[in-house]
């Protein structure tokens, strides 16, 4: 079973690279997003540093949403989901692995890149590490919430917009605690409370969402 899941992970990462959704492109995307921001807000360092945590978290949200409507749909169309259902590995774990692969090319690069992007947005040095940490801990929650939405809209031709409408309200807690970690850290306050709460949310969602997504996929087969 572990071998099967490892194969799924390898397949997803290869696919992501070949269809132009690999890590490199993700990094370029974040770089462009953060470079465009000062043109919208003006080059005021103080303003930028105040908005930096929010901007990085919104980038995470955008990046998660972008590939999400194809996360399961492509596999549904060419019958891979049916194969997965018949395989020995439980569908829930296969879906969790797919979500993990999605996170590895969207959430993780952002977390690793966060100090550099933070530097560009003049974030205070104290908040740099907490920023990366909050993204590392919190972005899996975004991906796994998205997995539920992807499962529910898998059979819809133009499910992207509906998907966003369904999952964005559910990302509110992640956003709140993710930004709070950075804000507290920037103010020199201890940030353990929001960080642990963020971790708790990620854990809950990681457990619940594969079951919901798997139920949604089984449902499309009547």
């Amino acid at each position: 079973m572990i071998a099967a899941l490892r194969a799924v992970l390898a397949r997803e990462l290869t696919l992501a690279r070949r269809i132009g959704a690999g890590v490199e492109l993700g990094i370029v995307f974040f770089l462009i997003l953060i470079s465009v921001t000062p043109f919208a807000l003006g080059p005021d360092q103080k303003l930028l540093s105040r908005l930096a945590p929010a901007l990085l978290w919104l980038s995470a949200l955008l990046a998660t949403l972008l590939g999400l409507d194809r996360l399961l749909q492509a596999d549904e169309e060419d019958g891979v989901i049916d194969e997965m259902m018949m395989s020995a590995a439980p569908l829930e774990l296969v879906l969790a692995t797919k979500a993990l692969a999605h996170w590895l090319v969207t959430g993780l690069p952002l977390a690793v890149l966060a100090p550099l992007l933070g530097l560009m947005l003049a974030i205070s040095p104290d908040a740099m590490l907490p920023l990366a940490l909050s993204l590392l801990v919190g972005t899996p929650a975004l991906t796994f919430i998205g997995l539920v939405g992807a499962g529910l809209t898998v059979s819809l031709r133009r499910g992207g917009l509906l998907l966003s409408v369904l999952i964005l309200p559910l990302t509110v807690p992640t956003l709140i605690f993710g930004v709070a970690v950075v804000r507290e850290a920037a103010a020199g306050q201890p940030f353990a409370t929001p960080l642990t709460l963020l971790g708790a949310i990620t854990l809950i969602i990681t457990v619940v969402s594969p079951f919901a997504a798997a139920a949604a996929l089984r449902m499309t087969r009547g």
Partner: protein
């Protein structure tokens, strides 16, 4: 929505499954509905009279506080309807109750409606009291998020054509929302709080004068009755709608 074979059961469960037959539901609901409307009208008239004319004005907020008699019950119902939908979702997924998805589809827009009433009246109340139409305060934001979840659910209903599949998709979404709502509520509370704290349901009894509490509770009951009545009407409409669909399909297949 085929007629369920009624398992031999007693009491509550017997009633639960006997109403599972849409035909029987139509008969019973048609019999009770006029009385339900009458009761709703009477309760609401009494509650509004007590609230708008008899209850004293607030010593700080003056007459504007009477908005409370609409605002607070609407907020209660906004949450209560979601709870109803959660139970219906369980009914769809666990018991495969034939009326559960009808109930859920009928409830969602009503719940969204109550939430909108709550937000709009809250806005009217906020202007004279806080001096602003909208404030990103914790409880207002929670209700707004609740509304967004309602809208997402309604959009999902519309996006999937086949009623049975739509019902299951919506049921899953409703349950995921039900798990998330307490987390959202908690996190938003943690994020910002300006709203006056809850004054009816709390430890050590309500912190509200009995003269104001009575109309408020009466209005709460009136709103619940109103929801029950609207809900039943919408369920009847949905059942008739599906029958019409089936007849149209049958007619179309006969012509082939």
């Amino acid at each position: 929505m085929t007629d369920a074979t009624t398992p031999p059961a007693q009491g509550f469960w017997a009633a639960f499954w006997s109403l599972a037959n849409p035909g029987r539901f139509m008969v019973y609901s048609a019999r009770w509905l006029p009385w339900l409307w009458l009761l709703t009208g009477l309760t609401m008239a009494y509650g509004l009279y007590k609230g708008l004319f008899v209850a004293p004005a607030d010593y700080q907020q003056g007459e504007s506080m009477r908005i409370m008699y609409i605002h607070v019950p609407a907020a209660w119902l906004g949450m209560f309807v979601y709870a109803t939908m959660t139970v219906s979702a369980l009914g769809t997924l666990v018991w495969r109750h034939p009326l559960a998805d009808v109930s859920q589809k009928a409830a969602a827009p009503v719940g969204a409606g109550f939430t909108v009433i709550c937000l709009v009246t809250g806005s009217f109340w906020g202007k004279p009291t806080w001096g602003t139409w909208w404030e990103w305060d914790a409880r207002m934001t929670s209700v707004l998020v609740l509304l967004l979840i309602y809208l997402g659910i309604i959009a999902l209903w519309r996006a999937i054509d086949e009623p049975l599949r739509a019902a299951r998709a919506v049921a899953i979404m409703t349950l995921v929302g039900a798990i998330n709502l307490p987390i959202i509520k908690f996190s938003v509370d943690w994020w910002n709080t300006l709203h006056q704290p809850a004054s009816v349901f709390k430890k050590g009894g309500p912190s509200i004068h009995p003269d104001m509490l009575e109309p408020l509770l009466v209005m709460g009951i009136a709103f619940s009755l109103l929801f029950a009545a609207i809900h039943i009407v919408r369920m009847q409409a949905e059942i008739i709608d599906r029958r019409a669909d089936r007849l149209a399909q049958r007619a179309a297949s006969r012509e082939d």
